[in-house]
């Protein structure tokens, strides 16, 4: 039963990643692109954790943790660049 639920959840997050890619390619404003990038990071964390359950190892949590940190920092840096024209003042 868990295998089917994993497949369902992974399919949902894969289609969600495609939606985010579409919004990032089309998005009329820079805020849309940042938002699409942030959503892609969160969906990828979910996919990494799902893969960890699938393989039955706890190795992928470190990868998910690092990905969450790097995604947050990059989102804030991009927003800072748009807001002030500079990242570190």
């Amino acid at each position: 039963m868990i295998e089917y639920a994993l497949l369902f959840a992974a399919t949902c997050y894969g289609v969600a990643l495609l939606f985010d890619l579409w919004r990032m390619a089309v998005g009329p404003d820079a805020a849309d692109r940042i938002l699409a990038l942030d959503t892609m990071v969160i969906n990828t964390i979910a996919l990494l954790v799902l893969y960890g359950i699938w393989r039955g190892t706890a190795v992928y949590f470190e990868a998910a943790m690092l990905f969450a940190m790097v995604g947050f920092v990059s989102t804030v840096a991009y927003c800072r660049y748009i807001l002030r024209g500079d990242i570190i003042e």
Partner: protein, 124 residues
């Protein structure tokens, strides 16, 4: 693995998959940039929380001891999601909203998006 744990894990996985899907569907469905800010920041965070709870239950039943990695990831995501939403809204306002369109601020200084920060007392 007992049947109750399997049902619980499968339920959390399905619910979180639906939430993540709805969050990204709102990202392409809603009309305005500020409206689009609403869907992914809440629904997708909840979806990832569901996946992490399912993973906690799975590894607790599988190995017998609780792992705290998932709690750390959940805590980090729940802390950073409002900050990123606030930053994205500020970036949108800085590019698309003029200063005379917003109401005046109630504090001593103007809005932080448009005005420079006040001088700190240490510098003068």
């Amino acid at each position: 693995m007992p049947l109750v744990a399997e049902i619980l894990i499968a339920l959390f996985l399905v619910v979180s998959g639906v939430f993540g899907f709805v969050g990204s569907y709102g990202l392409i469905k809603l009309k305005d940039s500020i409206q689009r800010l609403h869907a992914p920041t809440k629904a997708t965070t909840l979806g990832v929380g569901g996946v992490l709870i399912a993973s906690m239950i799975y590894f607790y039943v599988d190995t017998g001891h609780v792992s705290f990695h998932e709690l750390m990831i959940t805590l980090f995501l729940f802390l950073t999601a409002p900050i990123t939403a606030n930053f994205i809204a500020k970036a949108y306002m800085a590019k698309n909203t003029r200063e005379d369109e917003v109401p005046p601020s109630t504090g001593d200084y103007g809005w932080s998006v448009y005005d420079d920060p006040p001088e700190s007392p240490q510098q003068s």
